[in-house]
Symmetry: C2
Subunit: 274 residues, 2 copies
Amino acid sequence: MATLKVSATLKIPPHVPSPEEDSEQLRKAFQGYRAVLLWTLDSAQRDAFLVNEATKRLSSNNWVIMEIASTRSSIDLLNAKQAYQARFKRSIEEDVAYHTSGDLRKLLVPLVGTFRYEGDEVNTTLAKSEAKLLHEKIAEKAYNHDDLIRIITTRSKAQLNATLNHYNNDFGNVIDKDLETNLEDEYLKLLKATIQCLTYPEKYFEELLRMAINKTGTDEWALTRVVTTRAEVDLQRIAEEYQRRNSIPLDRAIANDVSGDYKSMLLALLGHDD
Amino acid sequence: MATLKVSATLKIPPHVPSPEEDSEQLRKAFQGYRAVLLWTLDSAQRDAFLVNEATKRLSSNNWVIMEIASTRSSIDLLNAKQAYQARFKRSIEEDVAYHTSGDLRKLLVPLVGTFRYEGDEVNTTLAKSEAKLLHEKIAEKAYNHDDLIRIITTRSKAQLNATLNHYNNDFGNVIDKDLETNLEDEYLKLLKATIQCLTYPEKYFEELLRMAINKTGTDEWALTRVVTTRAEVDLQRIAEEYQRRNSIPLDRAIANDVSGDYKSMLLALLGHDD
């Protein structure tokens, strides 16, 4: 018979942590685990997971849905849809539509639905006429107008960019500025962010990181999401944008703000070898 | 130097055709050519071509858009979208959205946009609650209600089928019957046909063929479209449906109604070797 030999591995630490310290440490360990979990998924599975979380009642987040629908390439979004169906046995479209209502649904459903054209051909006549249409609707404060939503959710990014340049040239303001009238309105904020994601995603992600890091108590979920999903896409450009706007390198800002394994994980994704 | 030798190949026919007979013969030859042209395309290119025609002002046809969006598998619809972009340098979604407005747009845009789940899992609780929701909206004549459109355009065909069975069981009428109130309304007709395409496509195509053949002067365009696009999919089941409903085999009905090369072409697609 073997004798069970128990060695004392449990040691009372020199400083006994309070329950608050304990839970704080657990929370940090869990965040790192979360980040790692996200990172172990391939990008399609990761997006599928994020959208699914975002359509659940308790973790509902229209911004994550918008961000994934607007910043992924058409084929990456399609891959996420297929990963979603394989895992959840439903479509992204039905879950997003079911989860939302009113103007938010009106914006988000075609945004996730459209398999956007990605060529760089631009129809200048159309860009001019649709810039005019956008300007009219915004002047009328008809921010949820069918045609405004149609233009934002279905036109190619190149075409939309041309349209917004005409908007700026012909009407004297960037569209962003004209949409800043009522930023208490959830729909209007999301619409503005959608346009930014479609035409200038690095700027959108820079702002998101800035808010996440500057918050009292870092918003780790947003930080993790941006770093893990953009690491192999445009995180370098986002970091440049961050430094330009905040006069501190992104890695240093993150290092100042978080700690432990979580910090090591994020810095590794930012390209630090150690 | 070679001498050009001209032999008289132009002969006056024994019966000189009238201009009407001439144009009738040209028309028939052209129809055959059209059918052949459609048939030479692969199915994705064919659907792309049909949708593009349907979004042009002069050949506008919301039914063709609805039919393609509703009766193709998700992957076939995706292939059509890719063929469309390769050929027209725009997306199906933007052209459909641009071409339509009001309720028709509200129905057609998510219909073409959704990458529908195709598994056969059914959520019975959801089917019951959505059957109730559909019944309420239809009772209120709110045929363009957001939730009604959401259910029709995003749920899987299996789920929608379960929902409509609950509708029938719980409220005593098939949904078709309850939608028959005002068939002058273009939107309502299209909504009804959409439901049929999603749940019982052979029946939809049978009706389309019946109308096309019974019309004074066959509607060759519809006839060609159904025969060329369904030949390798479900034309056999459509033919069975046709015979059950009309007491005449589909091939005989077509043979009675058209002639020439066009007739040979259609019969060949129906499986006649000669």
